[in-house]
Amino acid sequence: MLTVEQKKQFSEIFEELSNNLDISETQHNNAVKSYQAVGNWLSQEDSILAKYKPQILTQGSFLLGTVIQPINDIDDIDIDLVCELTGKNIEWTQNDLKRIVGERLKQNATYEEMLDEEGRRCWTLEYRKESEYLKEKYHMDILPSIINEGYSMILEKAFSHTDIRNVDNLAIRITDKESDNYKSDTNTDNWLKSNPFGYGKWFFNRAEISNLKLFSLNESIKPAPKYQQKKLPLQRAVQVLKRHRDIIFNGDEDKPISIIITTLSGKAYNQEENLIDAIKNIINTMHNHIEERYDSDLNKRIKYIPNPVNEEENFADKWIEYPQREKNFYLWLDKIKTDFSDILSQSQGLQFINESMQKSFGKDITTKTFSSYGERQRVNRENGNLKVSSLTGTIGAVGTKIKNHNFYGAEEKE
């Protein structure tokens, strides 16, 4: 059993881990700059799209604040974006809209070069900017979509209070190459609905804890959201879980997908303020939120993880076609439980905690975590915020303040 102080220290170490998993402020600002430039290009006067006021917003993990660095430095960060158009030419089908957005991108030589093969719902730009100091490598998935007049007001309103009803109002219409009416239907009411901002709203509602109320809500739906250094425990827990998933499955296509991890975490989370409590509760109870429902087409019961803002969408729908994905999910869940309890059983030296964490999260990130943990402790002492307790001389929040000083010492000759 951990003492209160040990749990607090573990929580601080895991917070430091999540800080290191997160994208940096520079990466964030560069990504925002890049997608804003795309937005500007789409909305320039000579663009056929200009009168529909194209606007680019983030969705997915970038919106939720659960982005993590890729395992390898050479891999890309994924940034999911929505390109909103207020209305459209009444004659456009999904196919037309998708094509016109693509064509406008191709009119710009830079974007033409970055443009990847057309996706089912998105256009993807591959950013590759490398300099001596900075490697910028990210995938931007741009989802063309149609919104109604006045949408941004509704969105802003929805993100300024905690009421979760009426999230349906936040749904947008998107194009889907695999839909039957892709090339025929011009009425957006018949197009596929998607609700990335409704989902975001749901997630932040789940993440909120009383003493950090609404702190990241409004910012996250702004066209150029500021970098948020402070994070809620649920956001950090999701980052930690996703990282463990990446280490266990590396590039395996049948790995548990982020939306499933994020949704089940959000459902299981119980407003724990301590990150260790949050992770423990999430991994121990998330399986309870996987439902079983009867599927009349297949005439059998299937696993069902409903989209919290759209009951009809099953995030686990692929498990039917790829049973390995279901197996892998449960394997991963077992593994993270074992690994997490192994980490928490180390209480006889930070070096042993490091060794245990390396297996779950990777060597480099764990070393970085302890290095920033050490730096933080030094700064804490310099600011007079470190104390030592009596009896054991243990550093923490209680006891005698550690006076400022300079460690000294000659560099010895070997």
């Binding site: 102080e5 730096e375 009896l391 460690f407 000294y408 000659a410 010895e412």
Partner: protein, 163 residues
Amino acid sequence: MRLAQKLKIIIFTVQKRKNKRISLIIQEGKLKSIYPDSKINRNRESSLKWVGVLKPTPLSQEYEVKLVYKKNKGVDVYITSPKELKRFNKNNLPHVYSTKEQKLCLYYPKYREWTVEQLYTDSIIPWTSEWLMHYEIWLITGVWSGGGKHPPKNKEKEKSKKE
């Protein structure tokens, strides 16, 4: 009134200067009260030895520490258990006078960060805990994160710093 106040301050300062050294009896009493499980040997006002166990952070291991004060020789601190501290890549320990003796350098003498006017329990011992915490982190990263100073390698360097 103002003058009287000033005088008071002057008198107080003079008194304080006179009594600036903390006697070893007081040091001993304070050590005993804060670290009741530790062992203390004192030889009047000429020397003091303290041996105690520190657990630098809630998740750290325990270390036995020896503090030795000898009049006119200052205070020395050693890690006595484990007898051989683990090391990062067999490198010498950071911020020590001697890796072999496990004798720590906890403060910069020139800045008079520690003097006989200070209680061990307010300075040397908390700094030892802090050293141990950063030592555990050093074992992981190979880099000292606790800050501090290294003496200049030669006199010229020192000279240039002064300028």
